[in-house]
Protein backbone atom coordinates (compact mmCIF):
# COMPACT_ATOMS: atom_id res chain seq x y z
CA UNK A 1 0.00 0.00 0.00
CA UNK A 2 1.36 3.36 -1.06
CA UNK A 3 0.05 6.56 0.43
CA UNK A 4 1.05 9.93 -0.89
CA UNK A 5 0.47 13.50 0.21
CA UNK A 6 2.46 16.10 -1.69
CA UNK A 7 2.54 19.87 -1.42
CA UNK A 8 5.10 21.45 -3.63
CA UNK A 9 5.50 24.87 -5.14
CA UNK A 10 6.23 24.57 -8.85
CA UNK A 11 7.15 27.32 -11.27
CA UNK A 12 3.65 28.11 -12.51
CA UNK A 13 1.34 26.57 -9.93
CA UNK A 14 1.24 24.66 -6.65
CA UNK A 15 1.19 20.87 -6.70
CA UNK A 16 -1.29 19.69 -4.12
CA UNK A 17 -2.30 16.03 -4.22
CA UNK A 18 -3.29 13.22 -1.91
CA UNK A 19 -3.96 9.62 -2.92
CA UNK A 20 -3.20 6.02 -2.06
CA UNK A 21 -2.55 2.97 -4.20
CA UNK A 22 -3.23 -0.63 -3.25
CA UNK A 23 -1.89 -3.51 -5.35
CA UNK A 24 -3.59 -2.02 -8.37
CA UNK A 25 -2.80 0.07 -11.41
CA UNK A 26 -3.55 3.74 -10.86
CA UNK A 27 -3.38 6.02 -13.86
CA UNK A 28 -2.38 9.67 -13.59
CA UNK A 29 -4.09 11.32 -16.51
CA UNK A 30 -3.64 14.92 -17.54
CA UNK A 31 -2.02 17.34 -19.97
CA UNK A 32 1.75 17.87 -20.19
CA UNK A 33 3.14 20.05 -17.44
CA UNK A 34 0.36 19.31 -14.97
CA UNK A 35 2.74 17.84 -12.39
CA UNK A 36 2.52 14.13 -13.19
CA UNK A 37 6.23 13.47 -13.57
CA UNK A 38 6.96 15.57 -10.47
CA UNK A 39 4.69 13.25 -8.48
CA UNK A 40 6.61 10.21 -9.75
CA UNK A 41 9.96 11.86 -9.01
CA UNK A 42 8.84 12.71 -5.48
CA UNK A 43 7.76 9.13 -4.87
CA UNK A 44 10.99 7.74 -6.30
CA UNK A 45 13.05 10.20 -4.25
CA UNK A 46 14.68 12.03 -7.16
CA UNK A 47 13.15 15.25 -5.84
CA UNK A 48 11.23 16.04 -2.69
CA UNK A 49 7.95 17.71 -1.72
CA UNK A 50 8.04 20.96 0.25
CA UNK A 51 5.64 19.36 2.65
CA UNK A 52 3.66 16.15 2.87
CA UNK A 53 4.02 12.49 3.60
CA UNK A 54 4.96 9.50 1.43
CA UNK A 55 4.86 5.96 2.73
CA UNK A 56 5.06 2.53 1.11
CA UNK A 57 4.15 -0.63 3.06
CA UNK A 58 4.77 1.16 6.39
CA UNK A 59 8.22 2.36 5.25
CA UNK A 60 8.34 6.13 5.44
CA UNK A 61 9.85 7.72 2.31
CA UNK A 62 9.17 11.32 3.19
CA UNK A 63 7.92 13.07 6.28
CA UNK A 64 8.17 16.67 7.30
CA UNK A 65 11.18 17.52 9.49
CA UNK A 66 12.80 14.17 8.75
CA UNK A 67 15.58 13.31 6.39
CA UNK A 68 13.96 11.74 3.29
CA UNK A 69 14.78 8.08 2.64
CA UNK A 70 17.52 8.01 -0.02
CA UNK A 71 16.40 7.05 -3.51
CA UNK A 72 18.62 3.94 -3.44
CA UNK A 73 16.79 2.48 -0.44
CA UNK A 74 13.22 2.96 -1.64
CA UNK A 75 13.01 -0.14 -3.84
CA UNK A 76 10.96 1.59 -6.47
CA UNK A 77 11.07 0.48 -10.10
CA UNK A 78 10.95 3.47 -12.42
CA UNK A 79 10.39 3.23 -16.15
CA UNK A 80 11.34 6.59 -17.66
CA UNK A 81 9.89 8.26 -20.68
CA UNK A 82 12.19 7.27 -23.60
CA UNK A 83 13.37 4.43 -21.33
CA UNK A 84 16.79 5.85 -20.33
CA UNK A 85 18.63 2.64 -21.23
CA UNK A 86 22.40 2.97 -20.78
CA UNK A 87 23.67 3.31 -24.36
CA UNK A 88 27.14 1.97 -23.56
CA UNK A 89 25.95 -1.27 -22.00
CA UNK A 90 24.45 -4.35 -23.58
CA UNK A 91 20.83 -5.22 -22.86
CA UNK A 92 22.01 -7.85 -20.39
CA UNK A 93 24.24 -5.38 -18.51
CA UNK A 94 21.36 -2.91 -18.45
CA UNK A 95 19.01 -5.45 -16.91
CA UNK A 96 21.49 -6.65 -14.28
CA UNK A 97 22.80 -3.17 -13.40
CA UNK A 98 20.79 -2.86 -10.20
CA UNK A 99 21.21 -6.48 -9.18
CA UNK A 100 24.03 -7.01 -6.73
CA UNK A 101 26.77 -9.51 -7.48
CA UNK A 102 25.63 -11.62 -4.54
CA UNK A 103 22.04 -11.97 -5.71
CA UNK A 104 20.35 -15.25 -4.95
CA UNK A 105 19.59 -18.02 -7.40
CA UNK A 106 15.95 -17.33 -6.73
CA UNK A 107 16.48 -13.76 -7.84
CA UNK A 108 18.13 -14.71 -11.14
CA UNK A 109 15.28 -17.13 -11.70
CA UNK A 110 12.82 -14.22 -11.37
CA UNK A 111 14.74 -12.15 -13.89
CA UNK A 112 15.00 -15.08 -16.29
CA UNK A 113 11.28 -15.60 -16.12
CA UNK A 114 10.56 -11.93 -16.98
CA UNK A 115 13.04 -12.11 -19.86
CA UNK A 116 11.26 -15.20 -21.11
CA UNK A 117 7.79 -13.80 -20.65
CA UNK A 118 8.64 -10.61 -22.56
CA UNK A 119 10.50 -12.58 -25.21
CA UNK A 120 13.78 -10.65 -25.16
CA UNK A 121 16.31 -13.49 -24.79
CA UNK A 122 17.69 -12.87 -28.26
CA UNK A 123 18.47 -9.22 -27.43
CA UNK A 124 20.73 -9.77 -24.43
CA UNK A 125 24.02 -9.20 -26.25
CA UNK A 126 22.83 -6.18 -28.25
CA UNK A 127 23.24 -2.49 -27.52
CA UNK A 128 20.16 -0.27 -27.05
CA UNK A 129 20.83 1.51 -30.37
CA UNK A 130 20.48 -1.79 -32.18
CA UNK A 131 16.97 -2.68 -31.03
CA UNK A 132 13.52 -1.33 -31.86
CA UNK A 133 11.28 0.93 -29.77
CA UNK A 134 9.05 -1.89 -28.59
CA UNK A 135 12.08 -3.97 -27.65
CA UNK A 136 13.56 -1.06 -25.73
CA UNK A 137 10.32 -0.70 -23.83
CA UNK A 138 10.40 -4.37 -22.84
CA UNK A 139 14.05 -4.21 -21.83
CA UNK A 140 13.39 -1.11 -19.72
CA UNK A 141 10.44 -2.83 -18.04
CA UNK A 142 12.56 -5.88 -17.29
CA UNK A 143 15.31 -3.65 -15.91
CA UNK A 144 12.84 -1.82 -13.66
CA UNK A 145 11.52 -5.12 -12.31
CA UNK A 146 14.94 -6.79 -11.98
CA UNK A 147 15.58 -5.19 -8.58
CA UNK A 148 12.35 -6.71 -7.26
CA UNK A 149 10.71 -3.37 -6.53
CA UNK A 150 7.75 -2.96 -4.20
CA UNK A 151 6.26 -0.28 -6.42
CA UNK A 152 6.44 0.39 -10.12
CA UNK A 153 6.33 3.86 -11.69
CA UNK A 154 5.70 4.09 -15.42
CA UNK A 155 6.13 7.47 -17.10
CA UNK A 156 4.39 7.38 -20.49
CA UNK A 157 5.88 3.98 -21.29
CA UNK A 158 3.89 3.42 -24.47
CA UNK A 159 3.83 6.86 -26.07
CA UNK A 160 6.68 6.18 -28.51
CA UNK A 161 5.27 2.88 -29.82
CA UNK A 162 3.19 2.10 -32.89
CA UNK A 163 -0.36 0.87 -32.37
CA UNK A 164 0.26 -2.87 -32.76
CA UNK A 165 3.29 -2.90 -30.48
CA UNK A 166 1.44 -0.78 -27.96
CA UNK A 167 -1.44 -3.23 -27.71
CA UNK A 168 0.99 -6.09 -27.23
CA UNK A 169 2.83 -4.19 -24.48
CA UNK A 170 -0.49 -3.43 -22.74
CA UNK A 171 -1.23 -7.13 -22.53
CA UNK A 172 2.22 -7.88 -21.20
CA UNK A 173 1.88 -5.23 -18.52
CA UNK A 174 -1.49 -6.58 -17.38
CA UNK A 175 -0.12 -10.09 -17.30
CA UNK A 176 2.97 -9.05 -15.31
CA UNK A 177 0.82 -7.12 -12.87
CA UNK A 178 -1.39 -10.11 -12.17
CA UNK A 179 1.75 -12.06 -11.21
CA UNK A 180 3.62 -9.39 -9.29
CA UNK A 181 0.75 -7.78 -7.43
CA UNK A 182 2.49 -4.56 -6.51
CA UNK A 183 1.15 -1.01 -6.74
CA UNK A 184 1.72 0.49 -10.18
CA UNK A 185 1.38 4.15 -11.10
CA UNK A 186 1.07 4.79 -14.81
CA UNK A 187 1.33 8.26 -16.34
CA UNK A 188 -0.28 8.74 -19.72
CA UNK A 189 -2.19 11.23 -21.78
CA UNK A 190 -3.94 8.63 -23.86
CA UNK A 191 -7.48 8.20 -22.46
CA UNK A 192 -8.14 4.91 -24.20
CA UNK A 193 -4.97 3.49 -22.66
CA UNK A 194 -5.90 4.87 -19.25
CA UNK A 195 -9.31 3.18 -19.39
CA UNK A 196 -7.90 -0.10 -20.57
CA UNK A 197 -5.10 -0.43 -18.03
CA UNK A 198 -6.17 1.51 -14.97
CA UNK A 199 -8.10 0.12 -12.02
CA UNK A 200 -8.50 3.75 -11.14
CA UNK A 201 -7.90 6.96 -13.07
CA UNK A 202 -6.93 10.21 -11.38
CA UNK A 203 -7.44 13.27 -13.56
CA UNK A 204 -4.90 15.98 -12.85
CA UNK A 205 -4.75 19.58 -14.02
CA UNK A 206 -2.38 22.30 -12.88
CA UNK A 207 -1.27 20.30 -9.86
CA UNK A 208 -4.70 19.33 -8.50
CA UNK A 209 -6.89 16.26 -8.94
CA UNK A 210 -10.07 17.42 -10.62
CA UNK A 211 -11.80 14.07 -10.96
CA UNK A 212 -11.34 10.36 -10.45
CA UNK A 213 -12.85 7.28 -12.01
CA UNK A 214 -13.09 3.74 -10.68
CA UNK A 215 -12.93 1.05 -13.30
CA UNK A 216 -14.77 -2.17 -12.75
CA UNK A 217 -14.05 -5.53 -14.28
Amino acid sequence: MLSVTIHKRLQHFDLDVQFSVKDEIVVLFGPSGSGKTTILNNIAGLSHPDNGHIELNKRIFFMKKQKPLPVQKRRVGYLFQDYALFPHMTVEKNIYYGVGKKHSADHSETIRSIIEELGIEHLLSKYPKQISGGEKQRVALTRALATKPQLLLLDEPFSALDQATRLQCHEQLLSLHSKWNIPIILVTHNLEEAQKLGDRILFIERGKFIDSMEQTG
Binding site: L46, A84, F86, G98, P128, K129, R143
Partner: protein, 229 residues
Protein backbone atom coordinates in the same frame (compact mmCIF):
# COMPACT_ATOMS: atom_id res chain seq x y z
CA UNK B 1 72.74 16.74 -34.18
CA UNK B 2 72.34 13.35 -32.52
CA UNK B 3 74.53 14.68 -29.74
CA UNK B 4 71.80 17.11 -28.80
CA UNK B 5 71.13 17.10 -25.06
CA UNK B 6 67.67 15.66 -24.61
CA UNK B 7 66.98 17.16 -21.21
CA UNK B 8 64.54 19.80 -22.61
CA UNK B 9 62.32 16.96 -23.86
CA UNK B 10 62.16 15.31 -20.47
CA UNK B 11 61.72 18.63 -18.69
CA UNK B 12 58.86 19.56 -21.03
CA UNK B 13 57.17 16.19 -20.51
CA UNK B 14 57.62 16.45 -16.75
CA UNK B 15 56.11 19.96 -16.62
CA UNK B 16 53.24 19.16 -18.98
CA UNK B 17 52.61 15.84 -17.25
CA UNK B 18 52.44 17.29 -13.74
CA UNK B 19 50.26 20.20 -14.78
CA UNK B 20 47.89 17.98 -16.74
CA UNK B 21 47.25 15.74 -13.73
CA UNK B 22 46.25 18.75 -11.69
CA UNK B 23 44.25 20.32 -14.55
CA UNK B 24 42.39 17.08 -15.31
CA UNK B 25 41.27 16.47 -11.73
CA UNK B 26 40.24 20.04 -10.95
CA UNK B 27 38.78 20.63 -14.41
CA UNK B 28 36.57 17.53 -14.31
CA UNK B 29 35.50 18.17 -10.73
CA UNK B 30 34.62 21.83 -11.28
CA UNK B 31 32.89 21.17 -14.61
CA UNK B 32 30.76 18.42 -13.07
CA UNK B 33 29.98 20.57 -10.03
CA UNK B 34 29.00 23.65 -12.03
CA UNK B 35 27.18 21.88 -14.87
CA UNK B 36 24.22 21.01 -12.60
CA UNK B 37 23.99 24.24 -10.63
CA UNK B 38 22.57 27.64 -11.34
CA UNK B 39 23.47 30.43 -8.97
CA UNK B 40 24.17 34.11 -8.95
CA UNK B 41 27.67 34.82 -10.23
CA UNK B 42 28.16 31.51 -12.04
CA UNK B 43 28.75 33.35 -15.32
CA UNK B 44 31.47 35.46 -13.73
CA UNK B 45 33.22 32.39 -12.33
CA UNK B 46 33.11 30.61 -15.69
CA UNK B 47 34.40 33.73 -17.44
CA UNK B 48 37.33 33.84 -15.00
CA UNK B 49 38.09 30.18 -15.72
CA UNK B 50 38.22 30.85 -19.45
CA UNK B 51 40.04 34.19 -19.27
CA UNK B 52 43.56 32.75 -19.81
CA UNK B 53 42.33 31.43 -23.15
CA UNK B 54 41.73 34.88 -24.58
CA UNK B 55 44.49 36.83 -22.84
CA UNK B 56 47.96 37.06 -24.36
CA UNK B 57 50.26 34.64 -22.50
CA UNK B 58 52.47 37.56 -21.53
CA UNK B 59 49.56 39.08 -19.64
CA UNK B 60 48.97 35.79 -17.87
CA UNK B 61 52.70 35.63 -17.07
CA UNK B 62 52.61 39.21 -15.79
CA UNK B 63 49.67 38.37 -13.52
CA UNK B 64 51.43 35.27 -12.21
CA UNK B 65 54.57 37.32 -11.50
CA UNK B 66 52.47 39.69 -9.43
CA UNK B 67 50.97 36.83 -7.45
CA UNK B 68 53.90 34.42 -7.15
CA UNK B 69 56.80 36.89 -7.30
CA UNK B 70 58.94 37.77 -4.28
CA UNK B 71 56.52 40.56 -3.40
CA UNK B 72 53.37 38.74 -4.42
CA UNK B 73 51.08 37.56 -1.63
CA UNK B 74 51.43 33.87 -2.42
CA UNK B 75 55.09 34.29 -3.35
CA UNK B 76 55.89 35.80 0.08
CA UNK B 77 53.99 33.06 1.86
CA UNK B 78 55.81 30.34 -0.13
CA UNK B 79 59.18 31.95 0.65
CA UNK B 80 58.60 31.20 4.34
CA UNK B 81 58.73 27.53 3.39
CA UNK B 82 61.75 28.18 1.19
CA UNK B 83 59.80 27.53 -2.01
CA UNK B 84 60.52 29.78 -4.93
CA UNK B 85 58.57 29.54 -8.14
CA UNK B 86 60.23 32.33 -10.09
CA UNK B 87 63.09 31.14 -12.31
CA UNK B 88 62.30 27.57 -11.40
CA UNK B 89 60.66 24.68 -13.25
CA UNK B 90 57.85 24.70 -10.67
CA UNK B 91 56.95 28.14 -11.98
CA UNK B 92 56.65 26.62 -15.45
CA UNK B 93 54.21 24.07 -14.01
CA UNK B 94 52.06 26.88 -12.60
CA UNK B 95 52.11 28.71 -15.94
CA UNK B 96 51.15 25.52 -17.81
CA UNK B 97 48.30 24.84 -15.41
CA UNK B 98 46.82 28.31 -15.84
CA UNK B 99 46.94 28.34 -19.65
CA UNK B 100 45.77 24.74 -20.17
CA UNK B 101 42.99 24.70 -17.59
CA UNK B 102 40.42 26.55 -19.76
CA UNK B 103 40.71 23.92 -22.52
CA UNK B 104 40.11 21.07 -20.09
CA UNK B 105 37.30 22.90 -18.33
CA UNK B 106 35.51 23.78 -21.54
CA UNK B 107 35.66 20.26 -22.97
CA UNK B 108 34.57 18.67 -19.70
CA UNK B 109 31.79 21.17 -19.17
CA UNK B 110 30.46 20.57 -22.70
CA UNK B 111 30.63 16.82 -22.20
CA UNK B 112 28.72 16.89 -18.91
CA UNK B 113 25.99 19.03 -20.45
CA UNK B 114 25.27 16.36 -23.08
CA UNK B 115 24.47 13.73 -20.43
CA UNK B 116 20.78 12.91 -20.12
CA UNK B 117 20.07 13.23 -16.41
CA UNK B 118 17.49 10.48 -16.67
CA UNK B 119 20.27 7.95 -17.23
CA UNK B 120 21.81 8.87 -13.90
CA UNK B 121 18.40 8.94 -12.23
CA UNK B 122 17.58 5.50 -13.59
CA UNK B 123 20.81 4.16 -12.09
CA UNK B 124 19.97 5.76 -8.73
CA UNK B 125 16.52 4.19 -8.60
CA UNK B 126 18.18 0.82 -9.20
CA UNK B 127 20.06 1.27 -5.95
CA UNK B 128 23.46 2.45 -7.20
CA UNK B 129 25.42 4.89 -5.03
CA UNK B 130 26.30 8.30 -6.46
CA UNK B 131 29.91 7.20 -6.90
CA UNK B 132 28.91 4.06 -8.73
CA UNK B 133 26.63 6.09 -11.00
CA UNK B 134 29.46 8.50 -11.75
CA UNK B 135 31.98 5.75 -12.48
CA UNK B 136 29.74 3.37 -14.44
CA UNK B 137 27.29 5.68 -16.23
CA UNK B 138 28.47 9.30 -16.30
CA UNK B 139 32.19 8.75 -16.83
CA UNK B 140 32.00 6.24 -19.73
CA UNK B 141 29.59 8.56 -21.55
CA UNK B 142 31.59 11.77 -21.08
CA UNK B 143 34.96 10.08 -21.49
CA UNK B 144 35.41 10.98 -25.20
CA UNK B 145 34.86 14.66 -24.32
CA UNK B 146 37.21 14.44 -21.36
CA UNK B 147 39.87 12.73 -23.44
CA UNK B 148 39.83 15.36 -26.16
CA UNK B 149 40.04 18.04 -23.47
CA UNK B 150 42.92 16.17 -21.90
CA UNK B 151 44.83 15.96 -25.16
CA UNK B 152 44.22 19.61 -26.06
CA UNK B 153 45.25 20.74 -22.58
CA UNK B 154 48.36 18.54 -22.65
CA UNK B 155 49.36 19.92 -26.04
CA UNK B 156 48.78 23.45 -24.81
CA UNK B 157 50.88 22.79 -21.71
CA UNK B 158 53.66 21.29 -23.81
CA UNK B 159 53.71 24.28 -26.13
CA UNK B 160 53.42 26.94 -23.46
CA UNK B 161 55.89 29.78 -24.10
CA UNK B 162 54.90 33.33 -23.09
CA UNK B 163 53.79 32.88 -19.51
CA UNK B 164 56.55 30.35 -18.87
CA UNK B 165 59.21 32.74 -20.09
CA UNK B 166 57.92 35.52 -17.85
CA UNK B 167 57.59 33.33 -14.76
CA UNK B 168 60.36 30.74 -15.09
CA UNK B 169 62.73 32.47 -17.51
CA UNK B 170 65.20 30.63 -19.72
CA UNK B 171 67.84 28.88 -17.64
CA UNK B 172 69.52 26.06 -19.57
CA UNK B 173 69.33 22.85 -17.58
CA UNK B 174 66.64 24.20 -15.28
CA UNK B 175 63.80 25.88 -17.13
CA UNK B 176 64.61 25.24 -20.78
CA UNK B 177 61.43 23.65 -22.14
CA UNK B 178 61.30 22.82 -25.86
CA UNK B 179 59.47 25.99 -26.99
CA UNK B 180 62.00 28.17 -25.13
CA UNK B 181 64.92 26.21 -26.55
CA UNK B 182 63.59 26.75 -30.08
CA UNK B 183 63.12 30.48 -29.56
CA UNK B 184 66.61 31.04 -28.16
CA UNK B 185 68.23 28.71 -30.70
CA UNK B 186 66.78 30.79 -33.52
CA UNK B 187 67.79 34.00 -31.80
CA UNK B 188 71.37 32.75 -31.51
CA UNK B 189 71.38 31.55 -35.11
CA UNK B 190 71.69 27.87 -34.11
CA UNK B 191 69.37 26.71 -36.87
CA UNK B 192 70.36 23.03 -36.65
CA UNK B 193 69.33 22.96 -33.03
CA UNK B 194 66.05 24.72 -33.84
CA UNK B 195 65.29 22.20 -36.65
CA UNK B 196 65.91 19.33 -34.30
CA UNK B 197 63.51 20.52 -31.62
CA UNK B 198 60.88 21.65 -34.10
CA UNK B 199 60.93 18.13 -35.57
CA UNK B 200 60.55 16.61 -32.12
CA UNK B 201 57.60 18.77 -31.13
CA UNK B 202 55.83 18.33 -34.49
CA UNK B 203 56.25 14.56 -34.23
CA UNK B 204 54.93 14.62 -30.68
CA UNK B 205 51.87 16.68 -31.61
CA UNK B 206 51.15 14.73 -34.77
CA UNK B 207 51.33 11.32 -33.13
CA UNK B 208 49.12 12.49 -30.27
CA UNK B 209 46.39 13.61 -32.67
CA UNK B 210 46.71 10.40 -34.72
CA UNK B 211 46.41 8.34 -31.57
CA UNK B 212 43.37 10.30 -30.36
CA UNK B 213 41.59 9.81 -33.70
CA UNK B 214 42.41 6.13 -33.74
CA UNK B 215 41.24 5.67 -30.17
CA UNK B 216 38.00 7.53 -30.77
CA UNK B 217 37.25 5.47 -33.83
CA UNK B 218 37.79 2.18 -32.03
CA UNK B 219 36.26 2.89 -28.68
CA UNK B 220 33.58 5.54 -29.04
CA UNK B 221 31.76 4.53 -32.18
CA UNK B 222 30.97 1.12 -30.78
CA UNK B 223 27.65 2.05 -29.24
CA UNK B 224 26.82 5.00 -31.46
CA UNK B 225 26.15 3.13 -34.66
CA UNK B 226 22.74 1.68 -35.31
CA UNK B 227 24.08 -1.55 -36.72
CA UNK B 228 27.31 -3.30 -36.03
CA UNK B 229 28.80 -4.75 -39.15
Amino acid sequence: MINENLSPLFLSLKIAGLSIIFVFITGVFLARFLSRREFFGKNVIEALFLLPLVLPPTVVGFGLLLIFGKNGFIGQWLLKYDIQLIFDWKGAVIASIIVSFPLMYQSASGAFKTIDERLENAALTMGASKWRVFLTVTLPLVWPGLLSGLVLAFARALGEFGATLMLAGYIPGRTDTIPLVIYFAVENGEMEKAYFWVAIIVALGFSTIMWLNWWTKHNVRRFEYEEKK
